[in-house]
Symmetry: C2
Subunit: 381 residues, 2 copies
C-alpha cells in the first residue's frame, strides 16, 4: 500500500495504533494455550484499559478479568463484566469503594497478604454485613508482595478471614521476575516455580481445613512458558494482548506480533548526526526504557514504516517531551533527510505496551481491511 493512501496517513500524530489482526492473533494464541493446559484464563485489563479490547478477550473465552485499580473495576463492571479480581493488596481506605461495587452486583474479589489488612477487611465486612471474597496473595519469586508458600502467616491470615466471616476464595501469585529472563529453560523453570509455590500454598490451606477453591497464577512470560499447570485453576496475564519489545527480548513473541505502535511524523533533521526528529517524544512513548538492560536495547522504540514493516536498525535513540530522535544503530545514516523526508509518517513499536498505552486518551484500531475505529481508553484512579 502506498504511504500517502494508507488509512493511517489521515490521522494526526502522535497517535496510538492497535493492529487488530495482530491483537486477535495474540488473544487466540493465549486462549488456545490455556485451553490446552486445562485452565481458565482471566486477562489483566490494566494493559489496555479499553472496553473493546477487553470485550475481544472475553469473546475469545476469558472468564472474568483482573484489574489494577478500582476505577478499572467500576468501568468494566459498567460494561457488564461481573467477575473481577482487584489484584492489588486491599487497604481499609478502599473498602468503601469495594463494598459499593459489590452492593451493585459486582462479583469483586479482593486480595490481602497480611493479618493487619485481613483484620481490617473482616471488621469492615462485619460492620456492613458484607462477606467479602478474599484471595490470599502468595510470593513465589520474591519480586514484590505476598506471603511465601511455607510461611506461618499464610494460615494466620486465612484463619482471620475465615473466622471473621469473609469468603476465603483462594490463592493468587504473579511471578513478575519472569520479565528479567530470556532463556526458554529459565522461563519454564520460573513458570514451574510459580505453579508449584501457589499450589503448595493451596495445599497448606486445605490441610488446615480451610477452603481454597481458586489457585490463580500468571504473568505473560510464565503463561507462555509453562509446560504443566497441574493444580492451577486459572491463569492471569496482561501485556500479551499487545506484546512489546520487552516481551520480544524475553522471547515470548516476535517483533511482528507487537500490536501497539505510536504513529509519528518526521518534523526535522540534524543531517550531520544522522538524526531525524519526529513528533513522538517520551510523552507519547512513555519514559519506559525496559529494553535498556535486555539483550537488545531499542532506545525508546523500533521504527517501522506506516504499513508496519520493521525498518531494521532504526530506533528512537533519544526522546524529549514531544521530540523523538530517530537514528540508525551503529553508523549514522549519511543522508537521513532523503531516507526520511519531512512529513514522513512512521510507526514506533514501544518497549512496554502498558506504559505507552497509558499516555493516550484513545487508541486508533486498524482492521485488516484498513477500516479505522477510535477506541477510548481511561486514565487515572
Amino acid at each position: 500500500m502506498h504511504t500517502a493512501t494508507h488509512p493511517l496517513a489521515r490521522l494526526e500524530t502522535p497517535a496510538a495504533v492497535i493492529d487488530l489482526p495482530r491483537m486477535q492473533h495474540n488473544i487466540q494464541r493465549m486462549q488456545a494455550r490455556m485451553a490446552a493446559l486445562g485452565v481458565q484464563f482471566r486477562p489483566h485489563a490494566k494493559t489496555s484499559k479499553c472496553s473493546p479490547v477487553v470485550q475481544a478477550q472475553i469473546d475469545a473465552g476469558a472468564r472474568g478479568i483482573t484489574v489494577s485499580t478500582l476505577k478499572e473495576a467500576a468501568h468494566f463492571f459498567a460494561d457488564g463484566i461481573t467477575d473481577i479480581l482487584y489484584g492489588v493488596g486491599m487497604v481499609s481506605t478502599k473498602l468503601p469503594q469495594a463494598l459499593a461495587l459489590r452492593r451493585q452486583g459486582c462479583d469483586l474479589k479482593i486480595v490481602t497478604d497480611s493479618v493487619a489488612s485481613a483484620e481490617a477487611i473482616v471488621a469492615y465486612g462485619a460492620a456492613h454485613d458484607e462477606a467479602f471474597e478474599v484471595w490470599i496473595e502468595i510470593d513465589t519469586d520474591g519480586h514484590r508482595s505476598g506471603i511465601r508458600p511455607d510461611e506461618a502467616a499464610l494460615i494466620d491470615v486465612a484463619r482471620v478471614l475465615h473466622a471473621g466471616g469473609a469468603r476465603l476464595g483462594g490463592v493468587m501469585t504473579h511471578a513478575g521476575s519472569s520479565y528479567d529472563l530470556d532463556a526458554p529453560e529459565a522461563l519454564a523453570a520460573m513458570a514451574e516455580q510459580e505453579r508449584a509455590g501457589c499450589v503448595r500454598a493451596a495445599e497448606r490451606l486445605r490441610a488446615a481445613g480451610l477452603p481454597c477453591a481458586v489457585v490463580s497464577v500468571g504473568s505473560t512470560p510464565t503463561a507462555l512458558s509453562a509446560t504443566s499447570l497441574e493444580g492451577v485453576t486459572e491463569v492471569r496475564a496482561g501485556v500479551y494482548v499487545f506484546f512489546d519489545l520487552v516481551m520480544r527480548n524475553v522471547g515470548v513473541c516476535a517483533t511482528q506480533d507487537v500490536a501497539l505502535s505510536v504513529l509519528t511524523t518526521v518534523i526535522g533533521h540534524q543531517a550531520d548526526k544522522g538524526w531525524a526528529i519526529v513528533d513522538a517524544g517520551w510523552m507519547a512513548m512513555s519514559r519506559d526504557r525496559g529494553t535498556q538492560k535486555q539483550k537488545r536495547d531499542f532506545g525508546y522504540g523500533q521504527v517501522c514504516a506506516i504499513d508496519g514493516t520493521v525498518l531494521a536498525g532504526y530506533v528512537l535513540s533519544g526522546a524529549n517531551q514531544e521530540h523523538g530522535i530517530l537514528s540508525r544503530e551503529g553508523t549514522p545514516e549519511p543522508d537521513i533527510a532523503a531516507r526520511f523526508p519531512i512529513g514522513t509518517v512512521l510507526r514506533i513499536l514501544p518497549n512496554h505496551a502498558c506504559a505507552t498505552g497509558a499516555q493516550f486518551p484513545e487508541y486508533q484500531a486498524l482492521a485488516q481491511d484498513g477500516e479505522l475505529a477510535t477506541w477510548s481508553r481511561f486514565h487515572g484512579w
Copy 2:
C-alpha cells in the same frame, strides 16, 4: 499537624498533590529573576497542562506562554491567553490546526528549522491568505533540533519565510543539555552559550536585512544560572513551577522547593527485606528515572511524611504498575512494618514533574490554610 487530621488524609490514593505555597514561591522566584535580568518571561505550559497553574504564572507577570502541543494551545487560548508559542517544529499536517487557531484570534507563533518546512508554511499561508508568525529554532547545544547559529541554512530559511509572506518574528533556542550538568560554573557557562548563540543568530539575520524582533532562550537550569541576558528579549522555562528531584540534583532548587508530590498509602510489607509496599507504582510516578545517572539516585522518588517532611534515606527503590517498593537506602530498616504501618499515608517527590503530572487527570492543590481544590489537567494530543 497530626497525620489522621491532615487535610490530605481524606483523599483517595494515589493522588497528585501541588503544594501551593511552594509553587507560588517558585513562580515568584523565577519572575523576579527575569525582571532583574531585564527580560520578558514566557513559561512553558507543558509541565502542568493545568489552567489555574498557568493563570498563577500569568498573574505573576508572565507575558504569554509556550506550549508543546496544539491541544495545549487550543486549551489555553480558550482560557483567554492569546500570546502562544508552539515550540515544536511545524509540519504541514498541523498547519490547518494552526490556521484555525489564528483565525479565531489566537496570536499563535510557530517554529521551523528547515527550508522544507519553511516552504510548506509559506505555501499553505499563501493558499489561505494567512501570514503566519514564524520563529526560527536555533541549536545552541547540539542536543535536539535547530539550526546552528553560524550555519548558512539560517539565512536560507529566513529568506524563504520573509519572501514568502510569513512574518519572521525572531529566533528561539532551548539548551536542554543543561539538564546533564550539576556545577554552578558549568550551568552559567551553558546559559552564556545559549544566550550568545541565539543572539549571534539574530545578529546574522539583522545583518542580512531580515527582521528579528524576538530573541527567546531558556530552560529551567539556564534561566536560573544566567548572569547576563544581553540581547535576549524573553526567556522560557517549564519545570521550575513545580521543580523535581532532577532539578534538585542539577542544583537549581532545594528538595523542599519541590511542589509536586504523589500521595500514597502503605498497603503491605516484606519485613525480611525492609520493604513497605505502597499504592504508587510507576503508573503514578511515571517511568522517569531521571536521577539514575545523576549525583544522587532517588529511585522512583523521595519519601516524605503526609505533611511534606522529607524522610531522609527513604526512597521508592522499585516500582511495578500499581505497586511501589519503599525502602531505606543502605541498610534495610529492621522493623519496616512498625515504621510504616499498613494504612500510613505518605508523599513521594518525583524525579521529573512533567512526566509524573502527566499520569494524573487532576491535581489536588493544597493551600497554606489546608484548603484543598481539585484542578483538572488535560492529557493527550
